[in-house]
């Protein structure tokens, strides 16, 4: 290589220079490794810096943009009203820094490095997706960086406070959603069979575990379970297999809206119209039910814990109106009707509540404030949903409501 002359020389120099420039900043600057002593990286007299990583491109791009857009909108509205008043008497504005990871866990890890080492964020908020969060979790806990209100429904982010004290979920787990569906079937107290189509990963496993728990000891049994992967173009063959069981109910634990639509329609073409339970992240009226022409389906159920802006029953709700107007103003490219936007908005309100509730302005103080969060829902949360951050084995939000599609709206079932 040395004998290749000038080109090599210049290339070496360019690469070395660009690498040096790309990083900037040296080792040991605030926040690169933190212990309880380095009280507040990411905090100045008037700003607090929060970071995140979302899929802003690729197949989940719209979902990432929706969640990010909702958070940005809420933070903008809080900043416009002056900021967050904190325990030390200072009022701070939120600076929200985020990067795209395309749902690639390796990119999420790199974004983590950027956020912590270059941007010196105070905490990670609403990092998106189970696999990216799993990739980040080890590093975040080793570095003692809060990884809060992760945008994923897997219980393991909140289950083990000893192993992962700096990580915390927000929304009710997918397992609890499965339990709710199972219980609603069991409550009918007659022999029934249910077929399940689930994602071939932990997300799907926990949905299945949930419904098994919900029907335990009842007259309901699982007829068959089929699996799909998120990149599958169709689930027709899985639906055909399940249709052969002629089960009374079908649990579509499907996180991908186009697959939800095509799967349910395929069941109809096979002449099979069971009671369908739609996973909460793919049951939006405007994104799934209407485009999929599912409104004529006899028995459609889902579960939810937030108010959907595209549901006519919330047309006059103040929180929903605020969400819509704030997102229109701050994030016009984000779609408020995508469920991730509603979850993102709700989590943003919880973060601001936690920031207000910090007794000391430090990373540990934030975790303590989150564990102390208690409320009876309100805002974008459905009536009856409660928040309790002290439960050491669960996500802060408790309760999820089974809803039935009736007259163009998801009606909460008692």
């Amino acid at each position: 290589m040395p004998s290749r002359g000038t080109a090599t020389r210049i290339a070496f120099a360019v690469v070395a220079a660009s690498v040096l420039l790309a990083g900037c900043g040296g080792r040991g600057s605030t926040g690169s490794t933190s212990g309880s002593g380095s009280d507040a990286p990411g905090i100045t007299g008037d700003t607090i810096t929060i970071g995140s990583s979302y899929p802003l491109s690729g197949p989940l791009g719209a979902n990432g943009i929706a969640a990010k857009g909702a958070a940005v909108a809420y933070f903008d509205s809080v900043n416009a009203a002056g900021g967050v008043k904190m325990a030390d008497g200072k009022t701070r504005k939120i600076k929200f820094v985020f990067y795209d990871d395309g749902y690639d866990p390796a990119k999420a890890v790199q974004n983590y490095g950027k956020l912590v080492d270059s941007d010196h964020v105070f905490a990670l908020f609403q990092t998106f997706g189970t696999a990216p969060n799993l990739a980040i979790m080890k590093k975040a806990n080793a570095d003692k960086v809060p990884q809060v209100f992760v945008h994923a429904g897997d219980a393991l982010f909140s289950m083990d406070r000893t192993a992962n004290p700096w990580t915390m979920g927000w929304q009710p787990t997918y397992e609890s959603e499965g339990v709710a569906y199972g219980k609603s079937l069991a409550a009918q107290n007659k022999p029934m069979t249910v077929a399940v189509l689930r994602q071939a990963d932990t997300l799907g496993e926990v949905f299945l575990k949930g419904i098994q728990e919900g029907i335990a000891g009842s007259k309901v049994t699982i007829a068959k379970v089929a699996t799909y992967t998120p990149k599958d173009p169709t689930v027709d063959s899985q639906i055909s297999t399940l249709a052969a069981t002629k089960a009374d109910a079908l649990f579509m634990a499907v996180a991908i809206p186009p697959l939800m639509i095509s799967g349910i329609n395929h069941a109809a073409t096979l002449g099979w119209k069971p009671t369908v339970f739609m996973a909460s992240m793919s049951s939006s009226i405007s994104q799934v039910v209407e485009p999929g022409h599912l409104s004529s389906y006899p028995n459609l159920f889902t579960a939810s814990f937030v108010k959907a802006p595209d549901d006519p029953q919330w047309a006059n709700d103040q929180a929903v109106a605020d969400l819509k107007s704030q997102m229109q103003k701050s994030s016009p490219d984000a779609n408020p009707n995508i469920t991730n936007a509603q979850w993102g908005y709700g989590a943003a309100t919880s973060l601001v509540d936690a920031l207000k509730g910090m007794k000391t302005v430090s990373r540990q103080g934030l975790m303590d404030a989150i564990h102390a969060l208690k409320s009876d829902g309100g805002g974008i949360l459905l009536p009856g949903i409660t928040m309790d951050g002290s439960d050491s084995q669960s996500t802060p939000l408790h309760g999820i409501k089974v809803e039935r599609f009736t007259n163009g709206s998801w009606q909460i079932q008692k």
């Binding site: 290589m1 020389r9 690498v19 990067y99 790199q110 799993l134 080890k138 071939a200």
Partner: protein, 337 residues
């Protein structure tokens, strides 16, 4: 201008160039050795990634740049290497065993795919290599016992040893950069003499090469295997700092990006492989600050610019630039390269 007017005799000039080259290489080495002691963990992560991808790109260069066979399968070998490495970590095997496993398994996969593939030419060969990651990713998703499925696998290995006094990210940097440099040296030594000339002939015109008695299929398989072995090693190198692998990291877009990086850097140049890898890793840092999520758009734009103005890649472009500058200093008939 006469010969007597030039400052240096051409032979002296060549000698001076070589000395200057060694000096620059020495300086670069010193910089690389001292850098992680000063750089942030994020910078060390980035450089380790550049080293890992450079190995993958150099491997691809052997097949696509030297042998002239465009391949889209490199992400699959990268994945095989990374999963083999994760497997070794799971079973508590030493890191060196993991590296060996990654290289061996990827090479075997390479040979298996190469044997049918080399019967095809050009476009058809390319399509077959396209099928490898397209089939491989769903396979990785389904074989969850082996791969952890769509969730992926965490694989924490190579903690910094006590005696070094280094942080993990610094140790990973040294391990990855040193092994990458060794692999580059190995490839350099492989590509000498008969193999290199055969691949050049093969690239220029397969029919003529066969007519000249070059065992075309055998050399294609060889190039494919070297390429796959590099891909596998790159997967191991990648796992060291990132410590996580999942099918999401192995999409077809990675193969395409590696090809783009290869072309941008220079298809037959080892330096080009490093430049391409730096481009792939660092460009999103810059463009994400301007408009997040659009890095692929910028990859495309840079590729277009390179293809239009420097078809030999950045290193080729620099070389002709350097050549033109040197030529202006000497008489018209003396070439300086």
């Amino acid at each position: 201008m006469t010969l007597q007017d030039t400052a240096m005799h051409p032979l002296q000039r060549a000698g001076a160039t070589r000395v200057a080259g060694f000096v620059v290489a020495a300086v670069a080495t010193v910089v690389l050795v001292l850098l992680p002691l000063w750089a942030t963990p994020f910078m060390n992560l980035q450089i380790s990634l550049i080293a890992a991808y450079a190995v993958a790109i150099r491997g691809l260069g052997v097949l696509t740049g030297h042998a002239g066979q465009v391949s889209l399968a490199q992400s699959a070998f990268f994945g095989v290497g990374a999963y083999s490495a994760a497997y070794a970590v799971d079973h508590g095997w030493p890191a060196a065993v993991g590296l060996l496993l990654a290289v061996v398994v990827a090479s075997l996969a390479g040979v298996l795919i190469a044997i049918p593939a080399v019967r095809l030419r050009g476009f058809a060969f390319g399509i077959l290599t396209l099928a490898v990651p397209v089939v491989g990713v769903p396979l990785a998703n389904r074989l969850s016992g082996l791969t952890g499925g769509a969730q992926g696998k965490t694989a924490v290995s190579l903690p910094a040893p006590e005696w070094s006094g280094l942080a993990d990210d610094q140790w990973h940097y040294y391990v990855v950069v040193a092994i990458a440099a060794l692999i580059f040296l190995l490839v350099h030594n492989l590509l000498t003499g008969r193999l290199s000339r055969a691949l050049d002939l093969l690239r220029a015109n397969e029919t003529v090469a066969a007519a000249m008695g070059v065992p075309v299929q055998r050399y294609k398989v060889m190039a494919f295997t070297i390429s796959a072995a590099c891909g596998g090693a790159a997967g191991w190198l990648y796992l060291v700092p990132v410590q996580f692998i999942s099918p999401d990291s192995l999409q077809l877009t990675l193969s395409i990006s590696l090809l783009v990086a290869l072309v941008v850097g220079g298809v037959r140049s080892p330096t080009g492989a490093v430049v391409g890898a730096a481009f792939y890793v660092l460009l999103p840092n810059v463009t994400d600050k301007i408009t997040p999520g659009r890095s692929y758009l910028f990859f495309g734009i840079v590729l277009l610019i390179v293809l239009l103005f420097f078809p030999q890649g950045v290193t080729g472009g620099l070389r002709s630039l350097a050549g033109r500058l040197s030529r202006r200093r000497s008489e018209p008939t003396t070439a300086t390269e």
